[in-house]
Amino acid sequence: MQSQSDMPPQILLVEDEKILAEGIIFNLEKNGYAVDHVPDGQTALNTVFTRKYDLVLLDIMLPYVDGFEVARRIRETSPLMPILMLTARTAVKDRVKGLEIGADDYLTKPFHLKELLARIKVMLRRSEWYRSSEPHSERYRFGDNEINFSDFTCRAGNGRFKLTQKEALLMKYLIAKRGQIVSRQELLENVWNISAEIETRTVDIFIARLRKYFEPDPKNPIYIKSVRSAGYLFSDSSH
């Protein structure tokens, strides 16, 4: 799988367990990825911004700075960086915490090799889609609103704020499919990637949030409309 140019996708592996890390590196390299490995959270933070990584594979229980904190700090600077968390913790609250902080996906140890590789592939594909899909320009305007998709900053009327990564992905997906009805299932599969653990209600919550940001009257939306028992429809009056 190749990302932008002929360069193989660059993955930063943050894992303190040496033997496990060596096994993961062997497999990733065998599948055409270039891997840098760091054994603790502090080194990860020192390394992650030194070059352009396409994905971060991040353990949670790390020396010095834990994986949650690493993910949070990466998100502050790099809202688009795909982060796959890898951990032995199975508690739902840990998974939810990871996803809320900004991890894109979560894999529990012990994991199946094929599943790890498949998830990395999907995440890179989605990241590539985000970069290449419409709107191609960084800034997108509709009505009184403007979204900057590179840093997620927004302007709605006189207010300025920042979208979360998921909100930005959702908005971008709706805009890319403007004029078409998009089902909740489709949004779950393409924006959230994993459908099993997230209820369709999650989509509704995010849509309600986006309407609050961008609609002059969120109760009577003009941009993000509901289509009864089908999904949502984005229409842009300025286009």
Partner: protein, 329 residues
């Protein structure tokens, strides 16, 4: 990684309840004193001789009951607080043990699936994979043994294989095995001194003791671990000085580190692997053999030192050691 749970809100609720009922009692007492004064005033003014002697006795008994209730509440509060603390430690232990057991399992599964996925794996790669899997299985085995040993010590149902051995020979054999197991080179794992004493040892358990110490030294080392062991005979004991050059601990932690589930939390400790059982088990193993262990801060250079004393047979506590040899007697 420490689990952040707060019992603060329960403590605040408890304190507020106590404050509320003490305030109610305070109001009652104030009202009582007020009524008492009024009655005394009426008594003085109209000389009708109201008897208030019984009321004073009730007040005194009431105050004593309040004191008893408050003391009881305080004891309950301490007890609940202790259990909150234990539950928190236990939750952290569960998270740690999950990590400790699942990580080597994940490695073994990954290497097995790797072997199954590719047909072009070379002979040296294959040997490398099997060595790694074998190391992880050993680690898993040590972890399971440690958990089982703690359970045995706590239930007092340990069945031991204690034997009268030459301490120097037995200990050196254990250390050489561990040197190989942890791939520690000579200059990173120095053993000096000797002992020609006889001791009653359960060799497998003593091996577990040193496995735990070495594992800690590796975990809390700055870079490559550096370990020194000095063996000597004193009048009654075989003395082992185990020292590393890792992060060490604070003087206030020297005793706490032997407590069950206790983990080092603060920076710069890497604080990752571990269950908080290792040194608790180490102390139990030493005590079981009739010995003593003390953690010390060694000189100016960083690190941690353990001063271990194991009793010499025929010199020290013979009755107990004979009991170890013949548990049925």
């Amino acid at each position: 990684m420490p689990k952040k749970t707060s019992n603060a809100k329960y403590i605040v609720i408890f304190v507020l309840i106590q404050a509320a009922w003490l305030a109610v009692l305070g109001l009652w007492i104030a009202r009582y004193v007020n009524t008492h004064m009024v009655l005394k005033d009426i008594d003085q003014r109209y000389a009708i001789h109201i008897n208030t002697g019984g009321n004073v006795a009730i007040l005194v008994v009431g105050l004593a009951l309040i004191a008893i209730t408050t003391a009881g509440m305080w004891i309950l509060f301490r007890y609940l607080n202790f259990h909150f603390h234990q539950t928190k430690l236990y939750d952290n232990f569960i998270a740690s043990i999950t990590h400790e057991l699942k990580t080597p399992l994940a490695s073994v599964q990954l290497y097995l699936e790797t072997l199954d996925s590719y047909t072009d794996i070379s002979e040296p790669q294959l040997r490398g994979f099997t060595t790694k899997m074998s190391r992880e299985v050993t680690r898993l085995n040590r972890m399971i043994n440690s958990i089982l040993e703690v359970g045995r010590f706590e239930s007092g149902q340990a069945t031991r294989n204690c034997q009268l051995v030459n301490a120097g020979k037995a200990l050196n054999q254990i250390w050489e095995d561990l040197r190989t197991q942890y791939a520690l080179e000579n200059d990173r794992f120095r053993i000096s001194g000797s002992s020609d004493s006889q001791a009653v040892l359960d060799v497998d358990t003593v091996r577990l003791l040193f496995e735990n110490l070495i594992d800690n030294s590796i975990k809390y080392s700055r870079g490559e671990p550096q370990i020194e062991i000095k063996l000597a005979d004193s009048e009654k004991y075989i003395t082992i000085l185990y020292r590393d050059y890792g992060h060490g601990v604070q003087p206030s932690q020297l005793r706490k580190i032997f407590k069950k589930f206790y983990r080092l939390r603060e920076v710069p400790h890497p604080n990752v692997r571990g269950t908080g059982l290792g040194l608790f088990l180490v102390k139990n193993i030493v005590n079981f053999h009739g010995g003593r262990i003390k953690a010390q801060i060694p000189g100016k250079k960083p690190g941690l030192q353990f001063h271990i004393e194991l009793p010499r047979y025929r010199v020290c506590r013979k009755h107990y050691l004979n009991k170890l040899l013949n548990p049925k007697d």
